[in-house]
């Protein structure tokens, strides 16, 4: 190969460049310590690196969560442990005090100590972690107990049954509850209140009921005025006034028109809207939904196929064509035309051409048009006679189809041609053979003449479907009332796709319609949730209310939970309440405020002031559930028991003090079981923390494997690349320098 100096220079440059590139890459790896900088360096590894980094970032978060959870649980554990010891001490003191040998001074000392222990119990209840009160449930911004030992937070049955759960996530999909409810430790005292005994309370759930509805597609482009859209519900027929429902494709019906026609349908006594909801659903189907629950027969007569009117262009027409010589004398000829078996007699005597005068085209046409069949009909009734664009004499059938037209004399060649204007109307639609049409109106109107289809014969069902032949026969025999039947003017058949076709025999574009244009209704069972009702109580006051009763009503919250949403209501402070009715009205206002209107309703029925709370079916997919409860007292059972102990110590009632020992033992047992629970959680947290740290180590090493450069290897490679680089430079210097020029002297 011929090598030039430039080639060598280029080669050298390319190679030096490659070496530099390699060195730069290695140097980059060394400087950053990373194997990959762009995803394209190694797409698979890059994806792995991303995954590992996310894992690590998450582990980091889980680690922090675990440590926070541990902190919280430790504080809880400490407080409960402390409480346990305090209670133990109180128990010892109680045992001492129960001993009848104590002097009054001893008892007083014991009482003083119990009181200070009580202070400590209260202060433990208000322990905090990072500024949050750990025993106050979700009300973490409030201390659990007031200094007097009563609850500072909201206490009701709901908060007792639904213990607050603060979950910390400590692994993917793995969370742990860190919270212990203070109510569990300190207990609650039930309030004794005149309302508590008589006011309705408890939980009620809505039951499942079945309602029926009719659903169907309502075609807005159809004229329903000849139709029968009546709806039957539970045996009662509601007559729909179809006269307002004249839709056309140019001016379709509006939904409002349809809805009002149905809503105003009457059975003579009441409206359809009284017993059913009529609306368009999200799929734009018309729904008639019974308001009555339970399965009852609903039906709408019309349930038909929707015929679509269209123009057909595949119609054939028969024509007779020929060159009519205008210079001949036809008077002795026979020009009579055989049109589909009927002979039309042409008066040939009119067609006489002489040497001086030729026939005119008009004369010929007139002669043929007036050809009569002997029964009063003329040829122009059934055929058009004209000269076509090419001057050829034509007799064209007015009806589509293969019709034999012939003439004895040979001036015509008869053939069937597809006319240019061979369009005809037809209607086409799906005909459901499994439907009972006996109550329906299927009447067809062709060119303004209505043909009455004998629907009574068309009783189809899923088990005994109609035969296509029966349907065709019924339509064919549809009578116009004056002797004509539909098959005279139209062909009726099922096409290859199973659609019923009513095809106008006439070629003119004439109006065709079927009165039933209808929507297909299907009966569906809607599952609807009934209302949930609580009515097991009454207001225990006389009406009108006494001032002290009003005070009780004004002061007392009613705690209501509906579908998991808990609210408290009581009359607003400025409400004017004088009697039961005004109280109920005020509570209803507050209920609307709390839950929104139409969710829950309070009603009262005299004379016993029986109260009924009704949770309505607001959300279709949820069975309504209602719980009514009275507020609990804000007294802690534990503190109350200790207070009783202190009181008894005060008066030195040994027998009662002895009895209180059992109560104290109960509290101590409670503390122990809570401690066990917390301890178990604490252990679990320790294990999780351990797992996270070991995961973290292994993930870090995986990440490092994936993305960190192996320094030793990179240094070696860099050194190697450097050597190659130097070698290529020195080789280049040697080769390029000498050339012939150096030796030409």
């Amino acid at each position: 190969m011929r090598i030039t100096n430039n080639m060598m220079t280029t080669n050298l440059l390319t190679n030096v460049n490659k070496n530099l590139e390699r060195m730069s890459k290695k140097q980059n790896e060394l400087a950053s310590g990373k194997k990959i900088h762009y995803a394209s360096d190694d797409p698979v590894l890059a994806a792995k690196v991303l995954a590992r980094r996310t894992d690590l970032a998450e582990l980091d978060q889980y680690d922090r969560n675990t440590r926070d959870a541990l902190g919280w649980i430790e504080i809880t554990e400490k407080a409960i442990e402390d409480n346990g010891e305090l209670m133990q001490r109180i128990r010892e003191l109680t045992v001492q005090a129960a001993n009848g040998t104590n002097t009054a001074e001893d008892t007083q000392k014991i009482q003083a100590e119990v009181m200070s222990l009580r202070e400590q119990l209260i202060s433990n209840a208000n322990s905090t972690y990072a500024g949050r009160y750990i025993f106050s449930g979700f009300e973490t911004d409030k201390p659990l107990l007031k200094p007097d030992g009563s609850y500072n937070i909201d206490v009701d049955q709901y908060s007792i049954d639904n213990k607050p759960i603060v979950k910390y996530e400590v692994g993917v999909g793995e969370s742990i509850n860190v919270m212990t409810s203070g109510l569990d430790i300190y207990g609650t005292v039930e309030e004794i209140n005149i309302m508590n005994d008589t006011f309705p309370s408890g939980t009620a759930k809505g039951t499942v009921a079945v309602q029926e509805k009719l659903v169907g597609v309502f075609d807005f482009d159809v004229n329903y005025t000849l139709d029968n859209l009546d709806v039957t519900i539970a045996g009662s027929n509601y007559v729909v006034d179809e006269s307002t429902l004249a839709g056309t494709s140019g001016r379709p019906l509006t939904k409002d028109q349809v809805l009002s026609a149905y809503s105003d349908a009457t059975n003579g006594n009441g409206l359809l809207s009284d017993v059913a909801n009529v609306y368009f659903n999200a799929k734009d189907e018309l729904v008639i939904e019974s308001k009555l629950s339970g399965q009852m027969s609903m039906s709408q007569f019309s349930s038909i196929y929707t015929p679509v009117s269209e123009q057909r262009t595949d119609a054939t027409i028969s024509m007779l064509k020929g060159n009519f010589d205008l210079t001949q004398d036809y008077s002795l000829d026979t020009l009579d035309v055989d049109f589909d078996g009927t002979i039309y007699n042409v008066d040939e005597s009119l067609l006489v051409a002489t040497v001086f005068t030729d026939l005119t085209e008009a004369e010929v046409i007139a002669a043929y048009e007036n050809a009569d069949d002997g029964f009063g009909g003329v040829l122009s009734d059934v055929a058009d006679v004209y000269y076509d664009d090419n001057g050829v004499f034509t007799i064209e059938s007015k009806t589509a189809g293969n019709i034999n037209i012939s003439q004895a004399s040979g001036i015509f060649t008869s053939f069937t041609d597809i006319g240019l204007n061979a369009t005809a109307d037809r209607m086409i639609g799906d005909f459901d053979l499994e439907v009972d049409y006996s109550l329906d109106t299927l009447d067809v109107s062709v060119s303004g003449v209505s043909y009455d289809v004998p629907e009574a014969a068309l009783i189809g069902s899923t088990l005994t479907p109609l035969l296509q032949a029966d349907v065709v026969t019924a339509y064919e025999n549809a009578s116009d009332g004056s002797g004509g039947i539909l098959s005279d003017v139209a062909n009726i058949f099922f096409d290859a796709t199973g659609k019923l076709v009513i095809e106008n025999k006439s070629l003119a574009l004439e109006s065709m319609s079927q009165s039933s244009g209808i929507f297909t209704t299907t009966l569906t069972e809607a599952v609807v949730k009934e209302e949930a009702v609580i009515n097991n109580g009454a207001l225990p006051f006389v009406d009108p209310l006494l001032p002290e009763d009003i005070d009780i009503l004004m002061d007392n919250d009613i705690s209501i939970v509906i579908n998991g949403v808990a609210r408290k209501v009581k009359p607003s402070f400025d409400a004017v309440i004088t009697d039961v009715a005004s109280y109920v009205a005020e509570i209803n206002l507050r209920l609307d405020d709390a839950f929104g209107s139409d969710v829950v309703d309070l009603s009262v029925s005299p004379p016993a002031n029986k109260l009924t709370f009704t949770a309505k079916n607001t959300i279709n997919s949820i069975e309504p559930e209602i719980t009514i409860d009275f507020p609990r007292t804000h007294t802690s059972q534990l503190i109350a028991d200790i207070d009783e102990l202190i009181d008894n110590l005060e008066i030195g009632k040994h027998s009662r003090i002895g009895e209180l020992l059992d109560t104290l033992d109960g509290h101590i047992g409670n503390m122990l079981s809570l401690r066990a629970d917390i301890g178990a959680r604490s252990n679990r947290m320790d294990l999780i923390a351990l797992r996270i740290s070991s995961n973290s180590v292994s993930f870090t090493s995986l990440l490092s494997d994936a993305e960190d450069a192996d320094m030793a290897e990179v240094v070696m490679e860099l050194k190697n690349a450097e050597n190659v680089y130097q070698a290529s430079l020195s080789a280049g210097a040697r080769i390029i320098q000498p050339s012939l020029i150096d030796f030409l002297r």
Binding site: R2, I3, T4, N5, N6, M7, T10, N11, T14, I36, Y38, A39, S40, D41, D42, P43, V44, A46, A47, L50, A51, R53, T54, A57, E58, D60, Q61, R64, N65, A130, R132, S136, G137, F138, E139, T140, D141, Y158, S159, P164, I165, V166, K167, Y168, E169, V172, G173, N281, A282, K283, V527, V565, A566, R567, I622, E707, S739, L740, I741, L744
Partner: protein, 548 residues
């Protein structure tokens, strides 16, 4: 018997030929480093010999110089150019992918995955300290950081699209310029060669321009029998002897892809029809600028993917956030809207004009088809998500749209795009509005909803590609694979090209050694011819002196 001075005449042709050859050597050396220069050689032959009646045989009459010939291999030129086209294409692809990779900036400590890590981390902190305003502020800032990051990505992508568009117009004008140069050179060459001479140096220049043109578009070129030169691009004539067509960038009136920047340019021939490229740099530029799908995914694909990512995660975060309760026990708002709108403004604007500026399309019934109260909430949510995905996939009108739950209905609306996303003004102005609590009475201590929000990152049903993390991972590795392929192709083609160029240079390059040895050779032959002259002179001298 030949004339006395016949020898002079022979020697003179030798002198002249050697001189011309020396000049050509000189020309070669002078152009040793000229780009595109092909070395030249003088071809010569012996003059037709004379016959003499007085003597048998013929006698040579000297040397005749025929032509200055270029040493060049047309086939290698052809191979070189078709390879250049590929290098141009893959080079442009690789360049763009390099830019895309720098924009996405993954794997790194500052890419979108890190921002997401921080965002979800903030949600965990919120779960642990739902009442703390510090934590809430952190959540807000992380949410803003997320919006800013995707906004930055989207803007950079679109910026790159503008750059590519500019490059398209530049390359178009380059093509026009080259076409013009070729017609000029055609004129020079044709004129020069009318008398049968070879316009070697002009041809070199033209070959060089064709080389350069071949990098930009795929060209076919040929000479006709009359020596006219033609260049076609993808079957359309670019240069036809003295005339050439031009590419005109026309501003687009409608966007080709929903998220394109406005007023990109389509190329059109001045003579009318639209321009299409089969390969070359231009094709790569157009593909990278316009392709939203296909084998060579361009910028619109990545913009679309980022938008899909943003819309789905924002919609899901909004859904969960709305299902919670804020610090005051009120129902949640949206976490994200567009252009700093409030939740209510955003939703009503969507309903009125959220679908291409027209009212949103209600598809609730199709979306909830198949859900049932007997199933769990998670199962129903999954059915709804699947339905939404299939509705969006199966309806071509809904490409690049999103289905959102607005005021109780599922509606088809425009996506929340990466460019427009922002946190909702409700949350921007009131930290209390962040709904950490899952129940109304849970406030302030309940952080369950924050945990629900944090768990969204593990929801593998969210995207066709899995969870949000998986989505980014797939996007990055897809880009990596594409970029790697483009770079590998570029490197391969460059090797091929340099190999062909090596061969080409081997034929047409100037070798100084060769020229030097030729110089010595021609110098010697010149000297010899001169020497002959002087010998002849001596001979004649002798003859003349005979008569003395």
């Amino acid at each position: 018997m030949a004339s006395t001075f016949f020898g002079y005449s022979i020697a003179k042709t030798g002198l002249a030929a050697s001189q011309m050859m020396l000049n050509t050597v000189s020309h070669n050396i002078a152009n040793a480093n000229t780009e595109g220069y092909a070395r030249q050689r003088i071809t010569s032959h012996a003059y037709a010999p004379d016959t003499f009646p007085s003597a048998p045989g013929t006698i040579g009459t000297g040397v005749a110089v025929d032509n200055t010939q270029q040493i060049r291999d047309e086939f290698l030129d052809f191979k070189f150019r078709s390879e250049t086209t590929k290098v141009g294409e893959y080079g442009a692809l690789a360049d763009t992918y390099r830019t895309l990779e720098s924009i996405i900036n993954e794997p790194s400590d500052s890419g979108i995955t890190t921002v997401m890590d921080e965002f979800f981390s903030a949600m965990h902190e919120l779960n642990k300290n739902p009442e703390s305003l510090t934590t809430r502020a952190l959540v807000r800032q992380r949410a803003i950081a997320l919006t800013e990051t995707v906004k930055g990505l989207s803007k950079s992508f679109k910026n790159e699209q503008v750059n590519l568009d500019f490059e398209v117009t530049v390359v178009a004008s380059q093509i026009n310029g080259y076409a013009k140069q070729i017609t000029d050179l055609n004129r020079g060459i044709y004129m020069t060669e009318l008398n049968g001479a070879k316009a070697n140096d002009l041809r070199d220049q033209r070959n060089l321009v064709v080389d350069k043109l071949s990098e930009l578009v795929d060209i076919q070129y040929y000479d006709d029998s009359a020596g006219r030169f033609y260049v076609d691009v993808n079957g359309r004539s670019l240069v036809s002897h003295y005339t050439h067509d031009e590419l005109i960038p026309m501003e687009r009136l409608t966007r080709e892809n929903p998220d394109d920047v406005d007023r990109l340019h389509d190329l059109q021939w001045k003579s009318g029809s639209t321009f299409t490229a089969q390969s070359g740099k231009m094709k790569a530029l157009l593909e990278m600028r316009d392709n939203i799908s296909g084998s060579q995914k361009g910028l619109p694909y990545y913009v679309d993917k980022i938008n899909e990512f943003v819309d789905v995660i924002a919609t899901e975060l909004n859904r969960v956030h709305k299902s919670g309760y804020d610090l005051n026990g009120d129902n949640g708002t949206n976490l994200f809207t567009i252009n700093n709108m409030s939740t209510s403004d955003y939703e009503s604007s969507l309903i009125v004009g959220g679908y291409n500026g027209t009212a949103a399309i209600d598809v609730s019934s199709a979306v909830i088809a198949g859900t049932d109260i007997s199933l769990t909430e998670d199962e129903n949510n999954q059915i709804i998500r699947d339905n939404i995905n299939s509705i969006l996939r199966n309806n071509p009108d809904y490409t690049g749209k999103s289905i959102k739950y607005l005021q109780g209905q599922y509606m088809v609306v425009d996506r929340i795009t990466a460019e427009d996303i922002s946190i909702s003004s409700d949350i921007e102005f009131d930290l209390d509005k962040i709904s950490a609590s899952a129940t109304a009475e849970g406030a302030p201590g309940d952080g369950d909803n924050a945990l629900n929000l944090a768990q969204i990152r593990h929801n593998v049903g969210l995207y066709a590609w899995g969870s949000p993390d998986d989505f980014i991972k797939s996007l990055v590795s897809n880009l990596g694979v594409d970029a790697q392929e483009a770079m590998r192709n570029e490197a391969n083609e460059e090797v091929m090209l340099s190999q062909i160029d090596f061969n080409r240079q081997s034929i047409m390059g100037v070798s100084l050694d060769e020229e030097m040895s030729n110089m010595v050779m021609f110098q010697q032959s010149y000297n010899a011819a001169a020497r002959l002259m002087s010998t002849l002179t001596e001979m004649i001298d002798t003859v003349i002196n005979l008569g003395r």
